[in-house]
Symmetry: C2
Subunit: 176 residues, 2 copies
Amino acid sequence: MTDTLRVLGIDPGSLKTGFGVIDVHRSRNAYVASGVIRLPSERPLPERLKIIFDSMLEVIDEYRPHEIAVEQVFMSKSAGSALKLGQARGAAIVAGTFRDIPIAEYEAKKVKQSVVGSGAADKQQMQQMTKTLLKLSDVPQEDAADALAVALCHINSRRHFSQLGDVRQYRRGRVV
Amino acid sequence: MTDTLRVLGIDPGSLKTGFGVIDVHRSRNAYVASGVIRLPSERPLPERLKIIFDSMLEVIDEYRPHEIAVEQVFMSKSAGSALKLGQARGAAIVAGTFRDIPIAEYEAKKVKQSVVGSGAADKQQMQQMTKTLLKLSDVPQEDAADALAVALCHINSRRHFSQLGDVRQYRRGRVV
């Protein structure tokens, strides 16, 4: 097996879902791709969820990540927006499980801590830091930056308890 | 095409997801099947969502419904439980869209009004009424009863603006 690990980060939202793909090879991170799936807010819910699911399947089938990382949600939102966000998360996560890819979740605070060094980092700091860490020519769009950040957080977390050379063992043992 | 319409009702939940299948033929409803998918609460979220998605696909592939009806959520819950419920709903709805089945949503109050005649009906009244309307020998389990009720509500709503003989036209025009 290859010793390159490919991680897909997802930042699901009810209007926009960000994604970011990063390769790790011998402790070096390389940006592969990122983007934002925009949902037509005027369309009925099932149609919007279908767009998330289908788009995530497309991303997965194009980039074939070994693992997926999703940001866990900060809980200060209203019940109404939490429900909408939950539906989007459900559709995105199920696309990953449909392709049998291990999925790990990280709290937003942990993602910020891991990428910027502070759990209180703001959106702009996250965008700047993903640009710097991944040597991008421009700052990524906000949702794409968040998705790249959760992928980076996953990669950093993995380093704590696993050599990146043995993806297989990790996938068997630790991730869902 | 056949003039029998088969409706799958779904009552998604983060711990239990109920389903119920009803056939309509010449304005007569016939119970086909119902059940509850129980989720292991101790398992990680992606695994639980995968169980919902896979189980709903199994139900869909076994019973081949023409249309799906899902209960819309009552909004008094906390943000935390709304998020969990949203994730379960997302996984269940996406299973329907994956098989390209039209999905309609109904508010809980409308379902109760349609089945029991009162928007304030309680769980037991719903269970009793689905038993009576569908000529069942026993009351269905609570979540299965709610799923059968939303299917009945969908069937009743359809009658208002469409002859049941022409499913195709309806599916093209009105449902998502």
